[in-house]
């Protein structure tokens, strides 16, 4: 996963280099008029539909047994500021068509920006030609499990105010106001802040008879405050706990960024005088703003079927949850209280969508039930590989709806749904978990994160660390990172929060695949306590 910090770095480079052609993420301008607020379900543009149907028809005529086409318009809007000045405003847009063709059990894909009937038909023929060229290297033929067709489907994400209707002046003014609040804290010398919006209009048609039109809006506010010690021997960063969400400007209003920024600045400042952590084993009380990322790395990626079967071996890696025959129904991920849901339906979450890029309408499913592994994330190409398991459990063999492509110019493959730790039965809260802990560390916010290619050994930081003694927070710590072995860590889970403590965290940039693609994904979590976790001190002298 690419992290907020990397994003900040990229943003920094981007603003420094102004127009860095290679640095700017591909895309966009607000060529589109602003969407009215509370818009009705989108309708597919007639011309777009005509091109989609032309593309799949051309693929079929050229010999494809199955083909689908996607035409998408992906728009981004960024406003970057530092301290009391604007750094840049960027509007991006990309529009094009990608065609995927299955010929004699082999895939081909081609993408074009030539948005004419001839242009998309040529791409379709190229996709078929690539599939045919690959036939010489084929071994087992690729097959797809059936799915319902959705001949006239529409979906729209849960937003009420389109960020594209808000002026750049208002966006910049909000950020500068937030920055001013952060700068009030002692020693806070620098603040970076940004608003990042995405509008993703996806159109899909397949030879299975689906024609689907969807619109998703996503928003991510970022504030990072830096406190520098008076003698210049230390500096500390604090990034705001403002999750990216599948929502619109209304989310930004609700967050009250100036208030968030004040706390962010104060905590950056406090970190300068925090006590360096003593190395050792601690009980950790992890806040959802920290735990979402650990869930992402140690469960989200581990339960991807393509990884478990070796399809990502050359890049993202495989999974310790392999082979599925030995793991499903048998592997004890954690205790009874551990329930992990996968869904693409949570309101405001980033992976939420009406239909996936296989044309499948996703349903919620449990990856882990009462601590036992029950399922994997799948696409139409993969679901058949688990037929034995679904048959055994009297479940239909169908895709879990996890197919996704970043844009028109990327081929779709298995990507992560929202993967979340479900609340416990008792309505415990963050404070209850701390009160029940004798010697531990409470961690808020996501920091450094790294995990091996099979998802066993992970190391995670955080933003703010509080020392717990005798059920009370007694002071702030710094230089904390926890190291885990995934099965041991989750089996050390012994206390979780209830429904009212559930929060969603997430990222815009989860990387996977070759060529690399990024998707945005959310992870819901409740506060949770993990026993006896190894904590290291990351402070060194330069």
């Amino acid at each position: 996963m690419t992290h907020r910090r990397d994003f900040i770095k990229t943003a920094g480079a981007l603003t420094a280099a102004a127009l860095a052609a290679t640095a700017i993420p591909r895309q966009a301008s607000a060529l589109f008029g602003a969407m009215p607020t509370s818009a009705p379900l989108p309708e597919m543009d007639a011309a777009v539909k005509e091109l989609l149907l032309e593309a799949i028809q051309a693929a079929k005529q050229a010999g494809a047994s199955f083909a689908d086409a996607r035409i998408s318009r992906f728009m981004q809007n960024f406003v970057f500021t530092r301290e009391q000045q604007i750094q840049n405003t960027v509007d991006t847009e990309t529009f094009g068509c990608g065609v995927r063709a299955l010929v004699d059990g082999t895939w081909g894909f081609a993408a074009t920006q030539k948005m004419t009937k001839e242009g998309v038909a040529k791409a379709a023929k190229t996709a078929v030609a690539i599939a045919k060229a690959n036939r010489i290297a084929r071994d087992t033929a690729i097959t797809l499990v059936p799915t319902d067709s959705h001949p006239n489907a529409s979906w729209r994400s849960d937003f009420t105010i389109d960020p594209w209707t808000i002026s750049v002046e208002d966006k910049a003014a909000l950020l500068l106001k937030a920055n001013a609040e952060a700068l009030k804290a002692p020693n806070v010398k620098f603040v970076f802040s940004a608003l990042f919006f995405v509008k993703d209009e996806r159109n899909y048609a397949s030879t299975d008879g689906s024609v689907i039109n969807q619109l998703a809006v996503k928003s991510w506010p970022i504030i990072q405050a830096t406190a520098v010690s008076n003698d210049r021997t230390d500096f500390q960063n604090r990034s705001s706990p403002t999750a990216p969400m599948g929502r619109g400007w209304e989310y930004i209003i609700e967050l009250d960024l100036p208030t968030v920024a004040r706390t962010t600045g104060e905590e950056a400042s406090q970190k300068l005088s925090a006590k360096p952590v003593d190395v050792g084993r601690y009980d950790l009380v992890l806040h959802p703003t920290n735990l979402w990322l650990t869930i992402h790395e140690s469960i989200g990626h581990a339960t991807e079927l393509d990884r478990a079967l070796g399809y990502e071996a050359n890049y993202a890696g495989t999974s310790f949850l392999a082979p599925p025959e030995k793991m499903l129904g048998a592997f004890k991920y954690g205790p009874e209280i551990m329930n992990i849901q996968a869904d693409r339906s949570q309101k405001g979450a980033l992976s939420t969508i009406g239909y996936d890029d296989d044309g499948v309408k996703p349903e919620d499913f449990m990856l882990v039930k009462n601590g036992i592994l029950r399922d994997y994330q799948t696409t139409r190409e993969q679901a058949g590989m688990l037929k034995w398991w679904y048959d055994k459990n009297k479940m239909p063999t169908k895709s879990r709806g996890c197919c996704y492509a970043q844009g028109w110019n990327n081929v779709q493959f298995q990507r992560m749904p929202n993967v979340s730790l479900m609340p416990g039965e008792r309505d415990l809260k963050w404070d209850d978990l701390i009160a029940a802990t004798d010697r531990g560390i409470a961690i808020l916010g996501d920091g450094s994160f790294s995990i091996d290619q099979q998802r066993f050994n992970g190391q995670f930081g955080g933003q703010v660390f509080h020392e717990i003694k005798g059920g009370k927070i007694v002071g702030m710590l710094k230089d904390v990172a926890y190291q885990i072995r995934t099965p041991d860590f989750w089996n050390g889970l012994d206390m979780i929060g209830g429904k009212s403590s559930y929060e969603i965290g997430g990222s815009f940039f989860d990387g996977k695949g070759q060529p690399g693609q990024s998707n945005s994904v959310s992870h819901g979590a409740v506060p949770a306590r993990f026993r006896n976790v190894n904590v290291i001190n990351t402070g060194r002298k330069a």
């Binding site: 102004a18 301008s29 509007d91 081609a110 750049v168 520098v228 990172a481």
Partner: protein, 446 residues
């Protein structure tokens, strides 16, 4: 075949766009790419594709107000809309007190990184290349090959209202291959990268990956701790390329970088690494072949960052250079760490106890004050004892800084163009031998 956009076409589009501009300043960046890729995994063909695309980005400026708009539709109407939109956004934007005027016309070093063999590479060529791994792997029966072959034909151009025009065309060919043993205990990674497709030796990559996978089977767990390491160029690059994220002089001047001098300013001029360490950028270096200008059209030549262990230079943006009365450097597009004369075999022969490391994985910043990173070894770690490679060992997690590592150099070897960097780009690194590399825990991942 030819580049996806000729120099004349790029210049024509940029000039036409600039003519439409009503702003004080107008900068246009243009990209055009044709890429082809073939993927295989678990001894099966996976996805394959060809993608054509272009991007037009315009920054309009009215005094200190500016905004960027990009589109990928290069029609006149679309370009006009993008320019109008950027002008509208710029006018609405608050003043940027750091805004700099556009550069005037520049001269650039010639770089030849375009190769016809790459531009002409077909899906069938890539499928045949994939077979050099798939056939032996299927035949062997006890290994599984997963690989990715990607070629690109790219153009990047930049122009502005002051008459600056820059154009660069290159081709790229990249092959990465992971071979895993069927028993799940061995994994070997080998890769190759060149601007010229015909220079990639697929067969050799395949043979070496199979060999490495077989040799890495049954890895033994040894205690984590500080070890002497011999890092292959990819492993060196995985850590050293991260230094690019810290090269802003401004961060050091502001007190928030590993290069902060407590008394004020940066450590430029101070010896911060072993005296054999030299790190440069040079688009014209034959191993690199990088873009000779940055995102502002600033000309890039040979730039020394670390010279004989001394921090020679940090990146000065035009604004920061002006403010600090320094000379702007431009932002580098290439990185090369110069090598030495010790071969990997000699390094091994001179090692009493150490580890030979293929590559590193999932590196993430742990502490920006020291550029401390955590990450893991991957796809082949071998124990060296008494001058000989003995057996494979389990992977480790490390917590290490490239700055610390480059202080602990024992020997430098031949350089290689990297194929597997997380961020891509033109990077060349040597084999190095370093002492006291800090491995902090074991990973059972293969």
């Amino acid at each position: 075949m030819s580049a996806p956009m000729s120099r004349d076409d790029a210049q024509r589009i940029i000039e036409r766009a600039i003519k439409m501009s009503q702003a004080d300043g107008c900068e246009v960046s243009l990209n055009a790419n044709v890429t082809g890729n073939t993927r295989f995994a678990a001894n099966q063909m996976s996805t394959a594709g060809e993608i054509e695309g272009s991007t037009f980005a315009v920054q309009s400026a009215f005094g200190p107000k500016h905004a960027v708009v990009t589109t990928d539709d290069l029609s006149d109407a679309s370009i006009r809309r993008a320019i109008e939109q950027s002008e509208k956004l710029a006018k609405l934007s608050p003043d940027d007190p750091e805004a700099m005027p556009s550069l005037g016309p520049q001269t650039y070093v010639p770089v030849n990184a375009y190769h016809e063999a790459t531009a002409a590479c077909s899906p069938a060529d890539r499928a045949r290349a994939a077979l050099t791994a798939l056939e032996p792997a299927r035949k062997a029966g006890n290994v599984s090959a997963s690989g990715f072959i990607v070629t690109g034909n790219n153009v990047s151009a930049f122009g502005n209202k002051q008459g600056l025009f820059a154009y660069f065309s290159n081709t790229t060919a990249n092959y990465t291959l992971t071979v895993r043993t069927a028993d799940g205990t061995g994994s070997g990674w080998v890769a190759a990268d060149d601007h010229d497709w015909s220079k990639l030796d697929y067969k050799s990559v395949s043979e070496r990956a199979v060999d490495r996978a077989q040799r890495s089977r049954g890895a033994v767990a040894i205690e984590p701790g500080r070890y002497t390491v011999i890092l292959e160029p990819q492993a060196v690059g995985d850590l050293v390329e991260l230094l690019i994220g810290y090269i802003a002089a401004r961060s050091a001047d502001e007190g928030r970088s590993p290069f902060v001098k407590p008394e004020g300013g940066s450590k430029i001029g101070e010896k911060i690494m072993d005296s054999r360490v030299n790190i440069i950028s040079d688009p014209a270096d034959p191993q690199l072949g990088g873009q000779p200008f940055d995102g502002e059209g600033f000309p890039l030549g040979r730039q020394s960052w670390i010279e004989n262990g001394v921090l020679k230079q940090l990146f000065y943006s035009r604004f920061w250079a002006k403010k600090q009365s320094k000379v702007a450097t431009g932002f580098p597009t290439t990185v090369k760490m110069l090598g030495g004369t010790t071969t990997t075999e000699q390094m091994i022969a001179n090692t009493e106890r150490g580890l030979l490391v293929t590559r590193l994985w999932y590196l993430r910043e742990v502490d920006p004050r020291t550029a401390l990173y955590t990450g893991l070894t991957r796809d082949g770690v071998f124990l060296i004892e008494n001058g000989k490679v003995k057996n494979a060992v389990r992977n480790f997690r490390f917590n290490e800084s490239p700055i610390f590592m480059l202080n602990n150099i024992e020997a430098l070897g031949p350089t290689q163009r990297l194929a597997g960097t997380e961020n891509g780009g033109d990077i060349v690194m040597p084999v190095i031998k370093a002492r006291d590399f800090n491995f902090t825990s074991l990973s059972e991942a293969v």
